[in-house]
Symmetry: none
Subunit: 218 residues, 4 copies
DNA sequence: AATGAATGAGGCTTCATTCAT
DNA sequence: AATGAATGAAGCCTCATTCAT
């Protein structure tokens, strides 16, 4: 693979060390995604990044280190950007559904990253936490606005998140098309107590295009 | 581990070969549960079953073989028993919620099995299929009875299943108590279009105790 | 494989133990032939003979035991029969060429045995000795009769034998047809000093059909 | 084994990796020679080369890889050198007998290599091909020159080659002395139709000394 | 910063052999 | 006589990690 990945692209103006580090992260994402965490060996990551294996350890303590680093950056970056992109949306119903849809949209536009996120979601608590922080805020907001009629607690948030991941899985597997985000968002809103009619309307409303990028600085 | 596992118990009156095989399956369940599928090596399974590694291959072709065997038996057994236990329930709302709750109840009563099921759900398509078959029947029934107002397709079924698994995770992790089943069942019913009041009532109704056991025959 | 092998056939009127032993030997020959000595495991031999692995050790000390037993019996049997079949041939040129041709004829009529013999020839000194004893007698006879003009020593005998084996190899591999025996016999006679014309005539003379069998008694 | 083998010697001025690779090849030759191909395990080769087993896989894909590499290098090197050493011999009778004698001389001067070649001849078609190419050219030349009176086909070439190998075996086993090459060359020439007198003269003519070495470059 | 050879533990699997039944 | 479960050594291979250059 020669085309630079997202990290390499973001680091293209940084020092050589940073660029090598970025190439390693891109390589790791690709292999985690295509073959899973267990199948990714340091040797193969290094090879895919076009460095020798010893170089890996200049940049990361071990495999776990690169995995958590990547997962954390991606998750933090995405959630923050999603949040920013929705800065001008006040209505919690719209925010909630837009966040779910945007997340799936992004993750399936970059299938390698999508798969990596999907797998990481079940392995890395920190990644979940990061995503959930924003999610909680929106759900709480909906409760304050009187839009949601279920108690907002950790259990609900986990349930909600797992629905999103399930839709992401379907989207990445190819069993669902671009409407997967809307479908699951509608179900989520119904679950939260939004009327079926409004749920449908909010979940299928056209979203303005936005550009998401990956943060590479620590 | 000295106390016999479920398979070993079920096989205690069978031949020596069956008993060893059962010990291996119990050991595998334990390790899958505690450390995940990837962490389970044939060596460790054999060690946990108190046999030398070579013996493993007398009974199973490889790790996949024991994993699918275990997964299939457990899933088939549980779903069949759940189905039988609900033979006299006609109402789809009640059936659906009872199935979710019973499943979580069983899986968390046997935490090792619960974890193994949880992990396996994402790895073994065949296991999902088996569970989903029963699920689909109940959801379709509800649609016929006019109780559910969403279209019943594979996407919905997967979403529904992932909610159950998420609740199982919370239950096994200890972040939720025995009411996890009712909580998620209520959310599922709401999502399906059942009125909040009825959803609450059905999801929290007391369930008569049943006895679930593990099938050991092929 | 259900059709009885040569040993089983020869043992069909003996006691049960002898019949099992014979089945094991047939199975061993088949596997040695098809997959080579190293590939033949006791388990597979036993399985092919339709007995459990433990039974093998009632009849043979180990794998080497069955291999040498089989090789010795076959070689001794064949050479003795070849010798008997040629009892009325006095001329050494004719004897020598007939022995080579008969040997190849037999070994390629029973390809499993042929291959086993071929492989064993390089591993078992005892087998070589047995064959060579008869060979030496014929070559010495030819020297006495003045037909051969090279000194008959062990070196010559080994060279002569390796030519026969090389032809057997070609015959079994399918790169040569039924005339392989005649071709190599002609070359052997030329080497020994027989005139080209006479070598050709003797090597291609039609041979009367004979029947070779396998001795099973110890 | 402490004295450097032929490969190690040829690689003594190369990089560390090449030197280790050479040590592994020498170790492999030694074990193939002393115990045969089947008996050589990667572990033992590595041990004999004084590296841990994992190192083996840095240099060779598997046992077959090292075996074919070694066999190919040896065969190609020897045949090429033999051919060069005979560049100024035109007469096919002399060439043929010199090639046989030189080959045996070389292989028995390096007994480990000799044994390895002997064993490999029966396993590696590619090795046979390489040797046979040169052989065929000389035999055809003899036919053109009218020196040989048998048809030169693959069967003859294989027969001829097996005679050489048989002599090599005798030489390596110690049952024959330095004259093994001449003895078998004489027999080969007789077989080809050269007159006994000329065969004897050509086969026993003194050969000028040459130096054969081992090619280590790829 | 980077290299890349080497390590050694550990995973998978097969096999000859033993032994209680 | 035969069974067949169990053993444990040994083979193959991969991998995370270290270290001299």
């Amino acid at each position: 693979m020669n085309k630079p990945g997202l990290f390499a692209n973001a680091a293209r103006n940084l020092g050589k060390s940073e660029r090598t580090r970025a190439r390693l992260m891109d390589a790791a994402v690709g292999i985690f995604a295509r073959e899973g965490y267990e199948a990714a060996s340091v040797n193969r990551i290094a090879q895919a990044a076009d460095v020798v294996n010893g170089t890996f350890y200049l940049h990361f303590k071990d495999k776990d280190d690169i995995a958590t680093t990547v997962a954390y950056r991606v998750a933090a970056g995405i959630t923050r950007q999603l949040d920013e992109a929705m800065a001008d949306i006040d209505d919690a119903v719209d925010r909630t559904s837009a966040a779910t849809r945007r997340f799936i949209e992004f993750a399936s536009a970059q299938p390698e990253w999508g798969w990596a996120l999907f797998r990481a979601a079940w392995s890395f608590r920190s990644l979940r936490e990061s995503v959930i922080t924003y999610l909680r805020a929106d759900l709480k907001r909906g409760a304050r606005q009187g839009a949601f009629t279920v108690p907002i607690d950790d259990f609900l948030i986990d349930t909600f998140a797992s629905m999103t991941l399930s839709a992401l899985f379907a989207r990445l597997s190819g069993t669902e098309g671009p409407e997967a985000g809307s479908k699951v968002a509608e179900l989520q809103l119904r679950m939260l107590g939004v009327s079926p009619a409004r749920a449908k309307k909010a979940a299928w409303r056209k979203l303005p295009p936005i550009e998401l990028s990956i943060p590479v600085a620590e």
